[in-house]
């Protein structure tokens, strides 16, 4: 049978008229029924390439260019060594580790939204959980690169894995870096599982609605023959619940362990008990920022304002505001303990952090992470998506700066003044960083084209819920 037989004749295109946002109280703009939501969401995937929004094409192309920049940077790195980066003694960690922590952090919002909010039965989560889980996966993929790239001899990364070798040597399990190996790989795997489990029923829907036969076959294979049997659903929900239950402590543990990379060391500015909670908060903070950064344009491009409503965005804003304050508390504690501990290294470190050669980065981060986001207290701001979008980007920048401050300003002046130094990133540092952003964006762009970026079956539940809770408004 011809593989590109068209099996249904609907020709998909985005709703021509701009669908209005139903406002901050409604999760799902109506009127909707089970079929309409399916068609709306799946329709994005079925959209013929020539009808895809121009912005999508441009974005995808740009991010592809950046992926090539990444390739170049990595090639140079492998050929010549980490010397091409701005590293030195004392500052032996730089962009690579900063980016690693930043990306992992961004990943966290995904898990938080899909798992924690699920356990807390937050209805507004429905419209963005699928998307943010994908974001988590891609962010972890970016993060995962750096620990390997930053090695002096990256081709030996597998020595960090416990496997029987002819040297009879094993990894050293007291090292936080070894903890990272397990934490990050577990996090990646579990996120993937969680994401896939969530996709399963939707893949079945695509299998049964896709316009082309080959599409249907692909989705059929991916959906493993899901047929929505009541008993399957029952086990499915249990499994999903358990995954959510497991992901919640996981997401906390992962960034806790990442913070151990610093907290376990002796270095003033790293050796701090506040790090685990404050890192987790920071992670969620940057994660939500990234979600907003991506969601706001996407829902506009694909005219999905009724599926991802202001309710979701406002909730996200409030959450950001909340964790933002926790982060601020973290900064406060750092400052307090540098004074209260009476430790001369600590207090010097803090003074150096705020007044030293890198002082500006500290004040910039205070501006980005604490001051500017306070605007979100005002509902006007929260409802002005342009502002929200800008703030979300500001927070992303701020959170990157936070990691820069932690890594670089702590390292460059530690215990013995004789060994103090300075760190200046090279163009290769910057290219590698920019490259991973491109890689991340490219994956996102491909994702929205090929998979339902909103969980269809959960929206159906929402429809069902709406049908029974409030009278379907007729006009």
């Amino acid at each position: 049978m011809d593989q590109i037989t068209k099996v249904n004749e609907n020709n998909y295109e985005l709703p021509s008229a701009v669908i209005p946002d139903p406002g901050a109280n409604i999760v799902l703009g109506g009127p909707q029924d089970y079929n309409s939501v399916t068609q709306r969401i799946a329709g994005v995937v079925y959209l013929p390439i020539k009808k895809a929004p121009k912005k999508w094409l441009v974005g995808a192309f740009l991010s592809f260019c950046f992926v090539n920049v990444l390739m170049l940077a990595v090639y140079m790195l492998f050929m010549r060594g980490v010397g091409i980066w701005g590293l030195n003694i004392p500052v032996a960690w730089g962009f690579a580790i900063i980016n690693f922590v930043w990306w992992i952090g961004i990943g966290h919002a995904g898990t938080l939204i899909s798992a924690v909010l699920f356990l807390l039965k937050q209805d507004w989560r429905t419209s963005i959980n699928r998307f943010s889980e994908a974001m988590t996966l891609f962010a972890v993929a970016c993060a995962g690169m750096f620990p390997i790239l930053h090695l002096g001899r990256p081709w030996l990364f597998y020595w960090l894995l416990p496997y029987p070798n002819s040297m009879w040597l094993w990894p050293q399990p007291r090292s936080p870096l070894e903890w990272d190996v397990f934490a990050v790989s577990t996090y990646g795997t579990v996120s993937l599982v969680f994401w896939y489990v969530g996709l399963l029923p939707d893949l079945a829907s695509l299998r049964d609605t896709a316009p082309y036969l080959f599409q249907r076959k692909i989705y059929a294979i991916l959906s493993l023959g899901w047929r929505g049997s009541a008993i399957h659903w029952h086990r499915y929900q249990k499994a999903y619940l358990l995954l959510a239950g497991l992901s919640t402590p996981l997401v906390l543990s992962v960034h806790t362990i990442v913070s151990f990379d610093f907290a376990v060391s002796q270095l003033p500015g790293w050796h701090t008990t506040i790090f685990p909670p404050y890192f987790v908060a920071g992670a969620v903070y940057s994660g939500f920022a990234m979600v907003l950064t991506l969601i706001i344009p996407l829902r506009a491009w694909y005219n999905m304002r009724d599926l991802i409503t202001l309710r979701t965005i406002e909730a996200a804003c409030k959450l950001m505001l909340g964790v933002g304050l926790i982060v601020a508390y973290g900064y406060g504690t750092e400052a307090f303990f540098s004074w209260y501990s009476g430790d001369k290294y600590e207090s010097f470190m803090y003074m150096n952090r705020v007044t030293g050669p890198y002082g500006f980065t500290y004040w910039l981060l205070i501006l980005c992470n604490i001051l500017i986001p306070q605007a979100l207290w005002s509902q006007k701001v929260r409802h002005n998506l342009t502002l929200v979008w800008i703030i979300s980007i500001v927070v992303n920048i701020g959170m990157w700066l936070e990691r820069f401050v932690i890594v670089v300003t702590s390292l460059h002046r530690d215990f013995l003044p004789s060994s103090w130094g300075i760190y200046v990133p090279t163009k290769w540092d910057i290219m590698t960083y920019a490259g991973t952003i491109g890689f991340f964006m490219l994956l996102i762009f491909l994702f929205v084209r090929t998979l339902p970026s909103i969980s269809i079956f959960e929206v159906r539940e929402q429809v069902h819920h709406d049908l029974h809770s409030q009278p379907v408004d007729k006009h």
């Binding site: 399916t38 397990f182 934490a183 599982v193 023959g225 047929r227 009541a230 659903w233 029952h234 159906r460």
Partner: protein
């Protein structure tokens, strides 16, 4: 028709399928069918519907148990591995710390626990559901396409001792479906 040779009473027939418009109708239908004495049947919905499984008499769900066991294995594996590495495989004096620095082994142990449980919850769920199963008789019914979109189905299988093609179909019609079909093998 005689079916002496066949293991099943109705050769080439998987069952009878009724299509409903809302989950509520489906649940009601299931309950009726169950009270009618039908046991070998299954209900299909495009989304989880509370009480549906119970309505067709499904009781216990073993996923949680598997995950619990897996979690315990994870803990044993993680801790076991680390203790073996640092005390038996190649004991090193690492920064003057004792060979059994158990506090340092907690994070990895924890991660192993999570990893094992998570994978198990996926695998056990699929295994119990008998997935992957790309081919299934219900797919033979054209209308069933909408089982993953907006329609709700009840299928009484021919293996059910009480199944009798014409009567069962008649019975289904009494449940107020949108349409009913035989499901060919």
């Amino acid at each position: 028709m005689s079916h002496a040779v066949s293991t099943k009473r109705y050769e080439g027939l998987y069952g009878a399928l009724a299509q409903f418009d809302t989950p509520e109708d489906l649940i009601e239908a299931c309950e009726k069918a169950y009270s009618e004495g039908y046991r070998k049947m299954d209900a299909y919905a495009p989304m989880p519907v509370d009480g549906l499984a119970e309505a067709i008499g499904y009781k216990k769900n073993k996923v949680a148990l598997c995950v619990l066991i897996a979690g315990c294995c994870g803990i044993c594996f993680g801790l076991g591995l680390l203790e073996w590495i640092s005390q038996i495989a190649y004991p090193h004096n690492v920064g003057g710390r004792p060979l059994n620095s158990w506090p340092a082994f907690i994070p990895i142990t924890f991660e192993c626990m999570i990893l094992f449980s998570a994978l198990t919850s996926l695998v056990s769920m699929l295994a119990m559901n008998g997935l992957p199963r790309p081919y299934h008789s219900v797919f033979n019914v054209q209308a069933f396409e909408r089982a993953s979109v907006d329609k709700f189905f009840l299928c009484i299988e021919s293996e059910d001792p009480k199944f009798e093609p014409d009567q069962t179909l008649e019975f289904l019609k009494t449940l107020g479906p949108e349409e009913v079909n035989y499901v060919p093998e």
